[in-house]
């Protein structure tokens, strides 16, 4: 009776996961979709606690421990999720993803001795080894991604011929996994060696990848954790874990590819990081750009914008880092009061994750209708008086259209150079993460407003108020 009921609970949970994800792909239904998924998850958890037959009498202490663990996890998870600043949110997603991976790895670690003793068959052992391996890679990889986004690990660390090193390490990892699976009389500590090597591979895999590519990596690790959860589902013949895991695995992979497509780079390029190397080569050729950089003062920029009819703001990574989303809303308000039409041009990969910029600007109450996606806004630049680029670089680099030798050639960009004036706010003349020069900055129509985004925009707002 109880186990039949549990099967129904898992069925309901699986359906809520599918419906929830489906609803999350439409802005109108997204929030309810998330709630539906959460309800299904709660059902699956409660159902498992009370209806699962573990094959022996479960002591009261075990229940206390389970509820205790859930309480601890809920409090910490809830608090950190509620308190995190919206700009720090990608880090937190990465961290939670790592927790899921670690959970899957621990399950594998605990179940391994049973599988060996009871000889539950090759299938169970395979699930355990895969869950442990994928879960650990996902865990250590997510932690590195977290540290990179957090700024703890700011530089891309590249050991000499790291691609080679990584591949050798991966082969060794698979060899060890094969030994655990097929070897006879495998010593019990081998599983810990496998755990250590998987954790090591997660670090090696993530560490050479640049901070700006982290969203793609997190999305990829997200689908890894999905697979790890699915292996647990096969181990326990648990439908909710199977559907949930595979669903996230496939949806996550598709999402990863969609992000790569938005950046016009193949996934292999992100992972094996050909970017850094080609970037250097091109920086040399691009230094032949003619023209000079032109500075603009705060008051000149304010006057230019004050008397414009139409202003388009291009927010980028720098805006997110400086947490300038509230100041930019203030700037928008003042300009609108003066009768200037203001819109935001959102590049698909602006910010730290696709859609991240929309979330940030929504946080400071920017009207949804003012956020215009790239395809829709590009024809408007020609009728625009002033484009204000805040902390964006590669997404407005004309080299993507003009220079076939450029590593970003072919990436769709915002056609800001069609506007009458372009004001670029940047911290310094350093190249963007692609490591290439941007000829837009040398365009006679472009003026540079150097400084931290928040600082420069606040001054701009103050100046505008005096006009």
């Amino acid at each position: 009776m109880a186990s039949n009921l549990l099967e129904i609970v898992y069925l309901i949970a699986s359906v809520t996961f599918i419906i929830g994800l489906k609803m999350m792909s439409n802005p109108k239904t997204a929030r309810n979709g998330n709630l539906i998924g959460a309800v299904g998850m709660t059902l699956a958890i409660i159902g498992t606690i009370f209806l699962y037959d573990g094959g022996h009498e479960v002591s009261a202490i075990t229940y206390v421990l389970i509820f205790g663990a859930i309480a601890i996890g809920t409090v910490i998870g809830w608090m950190s999720a509620k308190q995190v600043k919206m700009t720090k949110m990608p880090e937190l997603v990465s961290l939670f993803n790592g927790m899921g991976g670690a959970c899957a790895a621990l399950i594998g670690l605990i179940e391994y001795p049973h599988a060996v003793e009871t000889v539950e068959g090759f299938g169970a052992l395979l699930c355990i080894v895969l869950g442990l391996l994928i879960g650990s890679v996902s865990f250590s990889g997510s932690i590195i991604a977290f540290m990179k986004l957090n700024g703890t690990l700011s530089k891309a660390i590249r050991l000499p011929s790291y691609n080679m090193l990584n591949n050798v390490f991966l082969v060794a990892l698979f060899a060890l996994a094969g030994y655990v699976l097929f070897g006879s009389d495998v010593p019990s500590y081998t599983i810990y060696a496998l755990l250590a090597m998987s954790l090591g591979y997660g670090i090696l895999f993530t560490i050479p990848i640049g901070g700006a590519d982290m969203p793609v990596v997190i999305s990829l690790l997200n689908s890894f954790t999905g697979l790890a959860a699915a292996t647990g589902g096969f181990l326990y013949d648990n439908q909710a874990m199977q559907t949930g895991g595979i669903l996230v695995g496939s949806a996550g992979t598709l999402l990863t590819l969609a992000m790569c497509k938005a950046m016009n780079r193949p996934l292999s390029n992100v992972i094996f990081g050909a970017f850094g190397e080609t970037g250097k080569a091109v920086a040399g050729s691009a230094s032949g750009i003619k023209g000079s950089i032109k500075d603009i003062t705060i008051s000149d920029a304010a006057i230019l914008m004050n008397y414009a009819k139409k202003v388009i703001i291009v927010p980028g990574y720098g805006l997110a880092v400086a947490q300038a989303q509230h100041v930019i809303k203030e700037l928008e308000n003042i300009l609108e009061e003066r009768g200037v039409s203001v819109k935001y041009a959102i590049h698909p990969v602006a910010g730290r994750m696709p859609g991240h910029m929309n979330v940030l600007l929504a946080e400071s109450n920017v009207d949804y209708d003012k956020l215009v996606e790239m395809e829709d806004i590009n024809p408007e630049f020609a009728q625009t008086d002033v484009v204000l680029v805040v902390g964006a670089n590669d997404v407005v680099n004309p080299a993507a259209k003009n220079d076939p030798a450029s590593p970003i050639y072919g990436m769709p960009i915002l056609d800001v150079e069609a506007a009458k004036h372009i004001i670029v706010n940047k911290r310094s003349m350093n190249a963007g993460y692609a490591g290439i020069e941007n000829e837009l900055f040398y365009d006679p129509k472009t003026s540079m407003l150097f400084g931290d985004a928040k600082d420069a925009l606040s001054k701009l707002v103050t100046e505008l108020k005096t006009l």
């Binding site: 959460a38 998850m41 205790g68 809920t74 998870g77 399950i107 648990n238 949930g244 996230v248 695995g249």
Partner: protein
Amino acid sequence: MEQFLAAAAEHRQLIYIIILSIFVGVEVIGNVPTVLHTPLMSGANAIHGVVIVGAIIVMLKTETTLGEVLGFVAVILGTLNVVGGFVVTDRMLELFKKKK
């Protein structure tokens, strides 16, 4: 070969589930606007937290102290994944809803 076919036939339901789930996963997020990529990633992140079900099963099954301890940690980690994932996603989506 015969063994392989026998195994495939025996587990055919499992194979159906895998294949159909993959298609559902692809289908479900097929036409997502870029705007929703981040919340969707976060939402999917919460859903793979279903791994917590496995951690609870471990605790209900295990008879060793080591199993209890590791299971306890696993349940905490899984809960973090589930609760944190859903709450963060809700916070993101709340922002989308507010305007208008």
